[in-house]
């Protein structure tokens, strides 16, 4: 349990329960709504759709082009209807990093629920002003000659990084590549297959 989680604070619990109770009474909150939320997100919290899209892009140049130029069509091929995503490509010259400084905007449909660190002030404040430093602190050294391109998700567009395919994975199939593609790599704070979280 993280230190930032006063998860059993009785003050909060009573306030949640009070509002929940009123919304149930008014028919605004369905009696099974909470159970459905738990089922949905406990079963589907990972970056699975994003990882599948990247693995496909690594193995299929046509799909890679589509993912970068028309993400809606590319995601549609994976059964996801989502038109607000921009996919930004890491190259030898550019490393991309995604943040939301004003709240915690995050591409839920492709990456699942955001990790807590993404929502905390340390990341939100520093990602735009000292990205090279926080990436180094998080275990990712970006060479000085590589531009760091930060995407501050200030509107309703959402961003996902298309990481570079790791060396030595040439023989792997699309399905074998998927597990290498971590959430952190799709945010831009890690390289694929090397994430600590």
């Amino acid at each position: 349990m993280g230190k930032n989680h006063p998860n059993v604070d009785p003050y909060i619990v009573s306030r949640v329960r009070a509002l929940e109770s009123l919304l149930l009474e008014k028919g605004i909150l369905a009696p099974d709504a909470v159970d459905r939320v738990i089922q949905r997100y406990e079963a589907d919290t990972g970056p699975m759709t994003g990882a599948r899209a990247v693995a496909k892009a690594w193995t299929d140049p046509g799909y890679r082009r589509l993912l970068l130029e028309d993400p809606k069509a590319a995601l549609g091929q994976l059964g996801l209807d989502y038109e607000m995503l921009m996919v930004v490509e890491n190259t030898e010259a550019v490393h991309n990093l995604v943040v939301c400084t004003l709240c915690s905007c995050y591409p839920w449909p492709v990456l699942g629920l955001p990790p807590t660190w993404y929502k905390m002030p340390a990341y939100r404040s520093r990602a735009v002003s000292e990205p090279r430093t926080i990436l180094r602190e998080m275990g990712l050294a970006v060479p000085a000659e590589r531009e760091i391109r930060v995407w501050d998700s200030s509107a309703e567009m959402r961003y996902m990084v298309l990481p570079r395919r790791p060396a030595g994975t040439e023989g792997l199939s699309e399905a074998e590549l998927v597990p290498l593609i971590t959430r952190d790599a799709l945010i831009g704070v890690a390289e694929p297959g090397a994430s600590a979280s």
């Binding site: 349990m1 993280g2 989680h5 009785p10 909060i12 619990v13 009573s14 306030r15 949640v16 329960r17 009070a18 509002l19 929940e20 109770s21 009123l22 919304l23 009474e25 008014k26 028919g27 605004i28 369905a30 009696p31 709504a33 909470v34 939320v37 738990i38 997100y41 989502y82 038109e83 607000m84 400084t101 004003l102 709240c103 915690s104 990790p115 807590t116 660190w117 905390m120 002030p121 340390a122 404040s125 520093r126 735009v128 002003s129 000292e130 602190e137 998080m138 000659e145 590589r146 760091i148 391109r149 930060v150 995407w151 501050d152 998700s153 200030s154 509107a155 309703e156 567009m157 600590a196």
Partner: protein, 226 residues
Amino acid sequence: MDGVHDLGGMQGFGPVEREENEPTFHAAWEAVVLAMQHAGRFGLLYNIDEFRHGIERMAPAHYLRATYYEKWLEGITRVLLEKGVVSEEDLTARRAFFERQPDAPATAPLASPPPPRGAGPRVSLTDFIRETGATPRFAPGDAVVTREMHPHGHTRLPRYARGKRGVIHCCHGIHVFPDSNAHGQGEQPQPLYSVRFDARELWGESAEPNQTVHIDLWESYLLPGR
């Protein structure tokens, strides 16, 4: 508003702390808050901009102390109170009930079972583009400068990017304008651009080398640059 939520470039928050094997929810009530947010948004009780502005108006010290879902609870509660969906009196009475009976289920104070759920409208929560036919004023490659402004209401022009020179990267189409939509002034859709800023423009001599920031900004935030 120049609130505490506008964190870009602030200092003093320390290192990013990752949590190993983070659970989906850290406590049962977090899922309740998420469910209430879904109910409020899918039920069209408030829009995303009203919700965000509800969070922004938290007391600054509370905002920094609160977890993500506690902020959501604050935002949801505030907008539902302001819109009269729930009353302060009812909420206070229910809080008192659950403070006395912390283990009681949410249905405990209900006089009768909850009413059956209506069908409700089918809503997309990612529907922010409006095909108004408006012609974007700026084209990719155009130099722009962001307005130096400090509105008391909601805005999505971060403080660190005001009065700064940038270059249009692309236009995302015509999008609902948060600054009006958060205040019951309608969607007033306008072109939304991805604008590229050199880190030196944003942070001066403190900038890290070889860095840019792209920010999504509405047309009325921007003036022609040189």
